[in-house]
């Protein structure tokens, strides 16, 4: 352990729920995006699931809203080391979309892509079982554009770069395929509790 002279840090509270190396951002919700925020209306938004599925399908805004509503209330964690507690998102569980397209047994991974061309890869197991959403509301209001509105992917148990903003679709694959940040040195999976920040962690 390399102790830093004179560094005490903030007062410690037991069981804070913070993964290793994270701090509580409090009321802040920093915007982390390397691209220009797109001018994307809900009328132009679509969401497609294809690849290794029985029945590829594209939903528009109204069609996606006919699926059963599902909410997430909990914490989110950004690789840049802030975490945010007790956030509330509403949308539809990804399970509802996958039930319609019926993934092949050979599907093991997915690439999520956005309406802007951003990509990120995920094991299919991280997207199923009530652990991932298409989210269009934050704290009871429409998701702001700078945070991925009209709709973003939400995979809160992984670092937040996996929760693709302005999500446009998922392609199911039988192998892992690095996405945008993963090609830029970030970890393939990004589990905050194991501090999988960068390739090699």
């Amino acid at each position: 352990m390399n102790v830093t002279r004179g560094f005490t840090g903030r007062p410690r509270v037991q069981n804070t729920g913070l993964p290793p190396g994270q701090y509580d951002a409090g009321d802040d919700w920093p915007v982390l995006s390397a691209e220009v925020t797109p001018d994307l209306s809900s009328a132009d938004w679509t969401f497609r699931v294809d690849g290794l599925v029985e029945q590829p399908r594209t939903w528009d805004w109204d069609e996606a809203h006919t699926l059963p509503a599902s909410a997430y209330e909990g914490d989110i964690h950004c690789v840049t080391s802030w975490s945010k507690f007790g956030v509330r998102f509403a949308g539809v569980s990804l399970d509802a979309f996958l039930a319609v397209v019926r993934p092949h047994g050979s599907a093991t991974h997915a690439v999520a892509y956005s309406h802007t061309g951003y990509t990120t890869n995920l094991p299919l197991a991280d997207l199923t079982g009530g652990r991932a959403w298409i989210a269009w509301e934050y704290d009871g209001k429409p998701l702001p554009a700078e945070h991925g509105g009209p709709a973003r992917l939400l995979v809160p148990h992984l670092y937040f770069w996996k929760s693709a903003k302005w999500v446009a679709g998922l392609t199911l694959l039988d192998h892992d395929e690095p996405g945008f940040w993963e090609q830029n040195g970030y970890h393939a999976r990004g589990n905050p509790w194991e501090e999988q920040r960068y390739s090699g962690d």
């Binding site: 390399n2 002279r5 560094f7 691209e35 220009v36 679509t46 309406h115 446009a168």
Partner: protein, 251 residues
């Protein structure tokens, strides 16, 4: 219902630089050798990092402080120094009110202190000096851009480079003494006599896009989220392609 996917914008630019996963994964000891005040709110911290593998202008690192009871705090910081400054790196940090890490730097740190760093990280915002670069920053957003300017000078590069920086006042303009003919400062609260006060506007961006270098600009925007939104919109409205705008946001 359409079955074809047509993105409304085109972000799908590949990363520019492959990042060494070994360098990114290993913590190294960095020894503070010098502290230089830049403005009333920002200072530059110079470190000796003998095993530093080098970086490209625009890259960042992760820095870690450890308390006696094992508690750690880590933050991402842009690298201010150019790659030519071999074996050393410099960070320029604002003193954030109540900042756990920046507070230590601004009130406790002195030469000889050791911290840990890992990196360089992320190739997306990096500029290797290959294409004409239009740099737009505000406040401490000028830090990664200054690495690019310093690299350009150190190598004597002839590829076009222009920088627009926004600061509240001349006293708060980081690296003021070092800025040269490539830089146009914009002051939002107080300015030297004869220089208008106001936020960055289309009038600052338009002339640079009207006089495009061969191959066009690669735009790099760094600042608070509000500034990044504003500046990237000015660029898009002036005709800069969205897939040639790279943004680093903070705050």
């Amino acid at each position: 219902m359409t079955e074809t996917f047509a993105p409304v914008t085109r972000f799908a630019v590949p990363g520019r630089i492959a990042v060494s996963s070994r360098a990114a994964a290993e913590w190294q000891t960095a020894t503070l050798t010098e502290v230089r005040r830049e403005t009333p709110y920002a200072s530059t911290f110079r470190f000796a990092v003998p095993a530093w593998q080098g970086h490209l202008p625009g890259q960042h690192l992760m820095l870690r402080l450890t308390a006696e009871d094992g508690y750690t705090a880590q933050r991402h910081y842009s690298i201010a120094s150019p790659p030519e400054d071999s074996g050393h790196i410099e960070l320029t940090l604002d003193h954030v009110e109540g900042g756990e890490v920046s507070g230590w730097f601004h009130t406790v740190a002195r030469p000889g202190d050791e911290v840990e760093v890992r990196g360089p990280l992320s190739g997306f915002f990096a500029w290797p000096g290959d294409r004409p670069a239009l740099l737009i920053g505000a406040g401490s957003g000028v830090v990664p851009l200054m690495s690019m300017v310093r690299h350009h000078r150190a190598r004597g590069l002839s590829v076009p480079l222009r920088m627009l920086v926004s600061a509240r006042s001349p006293e708060e303009l980081i690296y003021a003494r070092e800025l040269g003919a490539e830089t146009t400062p914009v002051f939002t609260r107080n300015s030297p006599q004869g220089v208008p006060v106001g936020r960055m506007a289309a009038a600052h961006v338009a002339p640079l896009l009207a006089a495009q270098p061969e191959g066009g600009w690669e735009a790099y925007v760094c600042g608070s989220n509000a500034f990044a939104e504003h500046a990237s919109r000015l660029l898009v409205e002036a005709g800069q392609p969205v897939d040639r705008i790279r943004i680093e946001r903070f705050g």
